[in-house]
């Protein structure tokens, strides 16, 4: 097994776990964490792409790395925004994203 394959499998596993959490975990905080897991998996994938570029004679393709850095910043900002919203919701009542708004909350944090 080459390192690229191993990384690829790791990335796939992270994405799968993240997707599972994002779709099926009822609590918003876990959804946020799951989103970060998917993000990490995807960034790992960019890492592999950089490695593949290296195989073509470079020491390492710098473009995907630049993208990963940007992506991490974006993901960080998204997480911060989501957590801020969560906190505001905690002040105002129970946070949940499921169920149509007219129904009473059936889930607590």
């Amino acid at each position: 097994m080459t390192p690229a394959t191993l990384y690829g499998l790791c990335a796939a596993a992270l994405v799968a776990i993240g997707l599972f959490g994002l779709i099926l975990h009822p609590t918003p905080l876990r959804k946020v964490i799951s989103f970060n897991l998917i993000g990490s998996g995807t960034f790992l994938f960019f890492g592999i792409a950089a490695r593949r570029g290296a195989a073509a004679g470079f020491l390492g393709d710098p473009v995907p790395q630049a993208m990963v850095i940007t992506g991490i910043v974006v993901a960080f900002a998204a997480t911060a925004l989501a957590v801020a919203l969560l906190l505001r919701m905690l002040e105002a009542g129970a946070p949940t994203v499921d169920g149509p708004p007219e129904q009473p909350d059936d889930l607590s944090p």
Partner: protein, 540 residues
């Protein structure tokens, strides 16, 4: 840019500007008093600007107005009736709540209906037709009662369906045209060779037939026409249905013989003519009987057009237009007259009823009336076959229906009525006079038949015997107990669908609630991504 062109443009511009001026409260509150002037430019245009045209926007938009002979005939009649009914409305509805709103809908409907007669390009026709159809909703549902609301809903649903038919028909028709928005003339010239000729024709006949009330698309008429206030009923039944007539006149390829389609239209028209009579005689409301009479008469017009389409007979458009003009004026006068009869006490009642009787029997072709002229003019189109016999017999049917109407009218009166207000008598009298005199005045020009022949003994006999037959039939029917058929007859079948529709709506709402649950939407997201990827891969 000619004076005639400007006058033609003014006939839609003035009512439109008046409708816009209603955004200004000071005008809005008085708008109802000014309804009478809105159609006057159109009336002038019909008299003075025949043959004129104006290009409102040059190609590629190609918005064009033009007034040909058929258009001028119907435009003149419609403008006269709009003006009279507008004056009538000012008096009849004085002090009613929501009068300003009524005026806005009135002006918009007027703009659209007059526009139908003068536009020459396809987009503008669709625009004018839609404005007339949709704004008339405001007239139908004006009274706000449960009955009016139901009529408004049915009207709206079917009007929108008709619009959809017509739009698709137009698209199919225009697909062979070299540029967007062709002139109607150019598009119809391509019609016989168009790749989608048959579906396009079917859709156009459905769409315009719906507006004319061809059975079974007539169900909205007996609901909608009676519930509107009296002047609006006159406009709806007299004028708005003519938007369908002018549509068929403009869009049927009358210069190319299409026997199959012609026969279909003759069949549908004559069936409608008899069906509406059969249902109409079971009705007990005066205005509903008149609405069924409109359905029946429009059936005759459709049959006339179908007969012309079968053989590509020259002059079909003018003949159908002439018949439609006769119906427009007579039906307008009858509806306005119902209001006059209701408001008239015993002293003048006989006179008013006598005028109404002549008007009503004019629809059955009473000799010396416009109806006799109209029936005489269209007769040659039908030839000598079965269709001709049925067309003649339809006059007997009209007689039965009109005698039924007159009997109901005789019993209709408001308690304590004495002298009707002058504000409703004059408009009625003007339209009634026009209904007698107008068709005589233009007979020669419209039909190219010798007027004298229509007064010959043969013609008189041909007009009289169906009326006699009708009278005998009516007397026979009075012995029978007729079943009570609800207004709009087959619409009751649609009423049975109402719970099904409501359940379907509930089901959609439940499905939406389910789809909007987070796990469901999440799974959808993943599933769609997988599905689309597979399709992208498999398809390329």
């Amino acid at each position: 840019m000619t004076a005639a062109g400007l006058l033609i443009a003014a006939s839609v511009a003035l009512p439109l500007l008046m409708a816009l001026a209603c955004l200004w409260p000071a005008f809005r509150d008085r708008a109802a008093d000014w309804l009478v002037i809105a159609p006057l430019p159109a009336l002038l245009a019909a008299l003075l600007a025949r043959g004129g045209s104006i290009v409102v926007a040059p190609p590629p938009l190609r918005l064009t107005l033009a007034l040909d002979d058929v258009g001028a005939m119907l435009l003149g009649g419609a403008a006269l009736l709009w003006a009279a009914a507008g004056a009538y409305a000012g008096s009849y509805l004085r002090g009613q709540p929501g009068l300003a709103r009524f005026a806005v809908w009135w002006l918009l409907t007027l703009t659209g209906s007059l526009g139908c007669f003068i536009v020459a390009d396809m987009t503008s026709f669709y625009l004018a037709f839609s404005v007339a159809s949709l704004a008339a909703y405001g007239l139908v549902s004006f009274e706000g009662s449960t009955r009016a609301q139901r009529a408004g809903r049915v009207y709206m649903a079917l009007a929108l369906l008709g619009e959809a038919f017509i739009l698709l028909g137009f698209v199919m028709l225009a697909i062979g045209a070299p540029q967007g928005n062709p002139l109607i003339r150019d598009a119809v010239a391509l019609f016989p060779a168009a790749p989608l000729r048959d579906p396009a024709l079917a859709l156009l006949i459905l769409g315009f037939g719906l507006k004319m009330g061809l059975v079974p698309l007539h169900v909205w008429m007996p609901l909608a026409h009676p519930v509107a206030p009296m002047p609006a009923s006159a406009a709806l039944s007299g004028i708005i249905v003519k938007a369908g007539v002018i549509g068929l006149i403009r869009f049927l390829p009358l210069e190319a013989a299409l026997p199959g389609w012609g026969a279909t239209l003759v069949g549908a028209g004559l069936f409608t003519a008899f069906y509406a009579v059969a249902v109409g005689v079971t009705q007990t409301q005066v205005k509903t009987v008149l609405a069924y009479s409109t359905v029946s008469q429009m059936g005759v017009v459709a049959a006339v057009l179908g007969a012309g389409l079968m053989t590509a007979a020259p002059g079909t458009a003018l003949l159908a237009g002439f018949y439609a003009l006769h119906h427009l004026l007579v039906k307008g006068a009858l509806f306005l007259g119902v209001g006059v009869v209701m408001a008239t006490g015993p002293r003048h009642r006989k006179l008013v009823l006598a005028v109404m009787a002549v008007l009503a029997l004019s629809l059955a072709g009473l000799p010396l009336t416009s109806g006799a002229l109209a029936k005489y003019a269209v007769k040659p189109l039908f030839g000598d076959g079965l269709a001709a016999t049925f067309a003649t017999l339809s006059a007997a049917g009209s007689t039965v229906l009109m005698l039924h109407f007159l009997r109901l009218l005789g019993g209709a009166a408001k308690p304590g009525a004495e002298t009707p207000p002058a504000g409703i008598v004059w408009p009625w009298a003007v339209v009634a006079l026009a209904a007698f005199a107008g068709p005589w005045a233009i007979f020669g020009g419209a039909t190219a038949l010798p007027l004298a022949a229509s007064l010959g003994a043969k013609a008189l006999w041909a007009a009289l015997w169906p009326i006699g037959l009708g009278a005998v039939l009516w007397a026979g029917l009075r012995v029978l107990r007729l079943p009570a058929v609800p207004e709009g007859d087959v619409i009751v079948l649609a009423d049975r669908l109402a719970p099904v529709v409501a359940r379907a709506g509930d089901a959609v709402e439940q499905a939406d609630g389910w789809l909007r649950r987070w796990p469901v939407a999440g799974m959808m997201l993943a599933g769609l991504a997988a599905g689309l990827s597979v399709l992208l891969w498999a398809g390329s």
